[in-house]
């Protein structure tokens, strides 16, 4: 079985695209449709990588990212942010939350702005988890 990659995205087309790229490259995809589901699945399955959207129902990728990066059992899991939200806004939001008293978190292993080509996504995943 290939390495487990958790895809967290509310858009079914994006989930399908990510799952196809993962399967074609020998990884095992896990799928969640919002931040809350993603958090539960990450705790249960301890994936090797998370591909995370930002703007989602129930819980955003901003909050899930913080939760993953501050959980002692999950913070080692690399995260690729894949979103229509600009990287600059993502980083600024994390900085603002840290200024409000939340724990500072490191930057993600990669940040890809949607839409992304299959080759670019596959190459980014390979670079991070092999």
């Amino acid at each position: 079985m290939g390495k487990k990659v958790l895809v967290v995205d509310d858009d079914p087309d994006v989930r399908l695209f990510n799952v196809t790229v993962l399967e074609e490259n020998g990884y095992t995809p896990l799928v969640a449709t919002n931040g809350e589901e993603g958090k539960n699945l990450a705790k249960q399955e301890k994936p090797d990588l998370v591909i995370l959207d930002v703007l989602m129902p129930r819980e955003s990728g901003i909050r899930l990212y913080r939760e993953l990066k501050t959980d002692k059992n999950l913070k080692h899991i690399p995260i690729i942010m894949l979103s229509g939200i600009a990287e600059k806004s993502f980083l600024r939001s994390q900085k603002v939350l840290a200024e409000f008293g939340d724990t500072p978190v490191p930057e993600p292993e990669a940040y890809l702005e949607k839409p992304v080509e299959a080759e670019e996504l596959a190459a980014t995943i390979k670079k991070i988890i092999g």
């Binding site: 930002v54 989602m56 129902p57 129930r58 955003s60 901003i62 229509g84 993502f90 603002v96």
Partner: protein, 291 residues
């Protein structure tokens, strides 16, 4: 009844980002999370007779909404807020209710109903239907309506129009939670002229009785540190509430919503619905608790 999460339902024409920004004073009293909702009504993606449904039209409408929401979300994320979004094809009220339940939202913000008089008579108003199907407070927001002014602080000076119903009593609890952003509340009751038959003495007695009940409500606000004043009006509730809002220079009208059956409201109307749809003032409607 703290407002931690609000659902901002928009068709973009009537409620834009400027309207949303004017509601962000709610952050001072606990607002953390804004969820954008855009419902693409089925008629907009239906093709001409016999040709079915247009996927292309749906994609275009979805992506147009998505582009706006990304822009708004970036702005709110950068302020440290939590943001979510729904772009759904379906019926407006049904999808708003579903999103409000999924998100466990504390407040639903909508624009004025766009339906015409005849359509409302037969199909009902979106606002009436929404209030009948949810126990969440609904803010009918008119940010830049034709004859109104842009509001920077919509919660600063509300009038609470009470008819002593359970829903209007629930509105008191809701307003108490906003004490950090309310400067003054005007508590108003409109008495029916029919209540005032008899001698001048009898009429004055009725006024005194109403005033005493209003004073009690004001005391509960004052106990929370919110300045409040009572006002008695006589006449047609719809006209008098509007008059009171103007005289008090109110920024918002707050009312309990009617417990009347949906069909009764559709044919006979109701004061909260009429004010929500016709008044230039933003109107916050608090439904009774649904059992």
């Amino acid at each position: 009844m703290k407002i931690k999460k609000l659902l901002f339902v928009t068709k973009f024409e009537e409620l834009g980002f400027d309207a949303l920004q004017s509601l962000l004073s709610l952050r001072e009293v606990g607002l953390e999370h804004v969820v954008f909702v855009n419902i693409i009504e089925r008629e907009r993606v239906a093709m001409r007779r016999g040709t079915g449904y247009s996927k292309e039209a749906e994609i275009r409408l979805r992506e147009t909404a998505n582009i706006r929401f990304i822009d708004w979300a970036e702005n709110l994320f950068e302020q440290g807020m939590e943001v979510g979004a729904y772009i759904v094809v379906g019926s407006l009220v049904g999808e708003v209710i579903k999103a409000a339940q999924k998100e466990e939202a504390d407040l639903i913000v909508v624009g004025r109903s766009q339906k015409g008089v005849i359509e409302q008579l037969y199909a009902g108003s979106d606002i009436t239907e929404l209030l009948h199907r949810t126990s969440k407070p609904v803010l009918v927001y008119k940010y830049l309506s034709e004859s109104s002014f842009a509001l920077e602080k919509p919660f600063e000076s509300p009038i609470l129009a009470t008819d002593w119903s359970p829903a209007s009593m629930r509105a008191i609890d809701f307003l108490k939670e906003l004490k950090g952003i309310i400067q003054k509340i005007h508590v108003v009751h409109v008495a029916d002229q029919k209540q005032l038959s008899g001698s001048a003495m009898a009429i004055q007695k009725t006024r005194k009785k109403i005033r005493a009940k209003l004073d009690e409500i004001c005391k509960t606000f004052e106990a929370e540190g919110i300045s409040a004043s009572p006002h008695v009006y006589i006449g047609d509730p719809e006209q008098e509430i509007e008059k009171a809002a103007r005289e008090c220079q109110a920024t918002l009208i707050v009312m309990g919503s009617s417990g009347k059956a949906n069909w009764v409201e559709r044919w006979l109307g109701s004061t909260p619905r009429n004010i929500a749809e016709k008044s230039d003032f933003p109107t916050l409607l608090i439904p009774p608790i649904k059992l």
